[in-house]
Amino acid sequence: MAELWQLSIHEASQRLRRREISSLELTRACLARIHQIEGRVQAYLTVTEESALAQAREADGCLAAGETSPLTGIPLQIKDIICTKGIRTTCASRMLEGYTPVYNATVVARLLDRHAVVLGKGNMDEFGMGSSTENSAFHPSHNPWDTGRVPGGSSGGSAAAVAAGEALAALGSDTGGSIRQPAALCGVVGLKPTYGLVSRYGLVAFASSLDQIGPLTRSVADCALVLSAIAGHDPRDSTSLPQPPQDYSAALGRDIRGLRLGVPDEYFTSGMEEGVRQAVLAGIKALEGLGAVVQPVSLPTTKYALACYYIIAPSECSANLARYDGVKYGYSHQGAGDMWEAMEQTRGHGFGPEVKRRIMLGTYALSAGYYDAYYRKAQQVRTLIRQEFDRVFGEVDALVAPTSPVVAFPLGDKTADPVQLYLIDVCTLPVNIAGLPAMSVPCGFADGLPVGMQLIGPRLSEATLLRIAHAYQQVTQWHDKRPPI
């Protein structure tokens, strides 16, 4: 019989509602699992044991009263870039080491309204900048499939926790692949919603034209449950789309016969590992076996996405992170000097190397004399990338591609050369540039390490993507494989 921490949200919710188990038992099982393996995985920056147990007791009260949602009593982890009232929110940065929000992000409020249980805050690359969690100012996280390897990033602590059973699901954020890439490397499901579908009120801003919050779960059915809880219009986010809440589980179970799936050749890059290619191609075959019509498509601007992204994201980051001045909150340098010196020292000491690199890069790209050559040019290329996706979605319903060209790599392997690490995001960045929804689904293993298949759709096609991915998980067992830890 499965341990409680191994249950999917779907199974756990059914057993909670039948009162076969209590949320307190389930929460305690997850906390025990955290105590057992956290020394090796280090997926959390903060574990909120006491408040989690209190929330579980309250959830049990709701379950007893019959007031339930599918997330009532379900223990989850929240990436440490999402504000949690009364729980420190660090963004894995020295800058916010002592910062305790006085309000909840809308997504957190929505989970708590449904009486979900918050186990703690997930480790990440500092401010979401990185693909391995090695840019966390506190410690890296470890891949549960091989603790000598990275879990991916930036939501690496979230993916590792879900894969290892330290939470039933997690909320991450994705600016250039930060949900999908760690999901792929840890063998879990990760979804980046359409830009504007999920409120970002209370998400610490990195690059505002790209950031989105989304779920990391073990199954597609669980992903639909979490997305249903967090999606929908929020008057507190001016980029929030006027979408009413929707039950994404309703679309699951319909077959995918006749759906047209495009395979973009440009996503099978030259630097791709052969094992990854084989696993993704096998995944595409399985979708064909389910009746989908697969055809090659071409997205020639893909090769410009990396440069486009690394102009736009650092530019926005340099503006967003200007708020860390040591006055209102966060780290504040205490040495002598005037206001400007204090501010420069605060930022020099408070930010880690990758954050400084990106702020410098963005400041350069936006500075007098370079704006047109870099920032404006990148925004024009962004238009071309969007138009190309629009054209392709006139021919196909969704795209199938790898999520990451490589499997989880050893810790320390790619820290020396930032450009090498940026290249890893080549399959995920175009999606954020165009504001599209995409998800990563486990599709096999290469050298014993998980591989993710990426599904990309037109704006607001989450229901279709979930339907395709769910159909896939009905005929494959990759998502049931658990790391040996």
């Binding site: 002592g98 830009y195 034209s209 601007t301 102009i311 930022r347 238009t383």
Partner: protein, 99 residues
């Protein structure tokens, strides 16, 4: 070729980040390396292409602005609760104006 050290200092000053000599040297190298990657964009003719500021165009007639209706916000105590230095109801800052 790394960025000119004077240029690295200029950018750091604009970004208000104190850097050590070692950091400036590394960043001069790395920024030049990254900027070289951006050259690829010059292969694309973008004459007459409108720039996209962000991907969330809400559609015709739709605006992200809501009605300006007063509602309770954070209290002064809440707003000041994370302040590194405060004085009464205020954030305390270093002198802004020279004597």
């Amino acid at each position: 070729m790394p960025l000119d050290p004077a240029q690295v200092r200029h950018i750091a000053a604009l970004a208000r980040i104190a850097l050590t000599d070692a950091e400036r040297a590394v960043l001069g190298q790395q920024l030049a390396q990254i900027l070289a990657q951006f050259e690829v964009l010059n292969q694309l003719d973008t004459t007459g292409v409108a720039p996209t500021a962000h991907a969330g165009d809400l559609g015709p007639g739709l605006s992200g602005l809501r009605d300006d209706t007063p509602s309770p916000g954070l209290t002064t105590e809440e707003v000041l609760s994370n302040a590194p230095r405060r004085e009464g109801q205020f954030f305390r800052v270093r002198a802004v104006l020279e004597e």
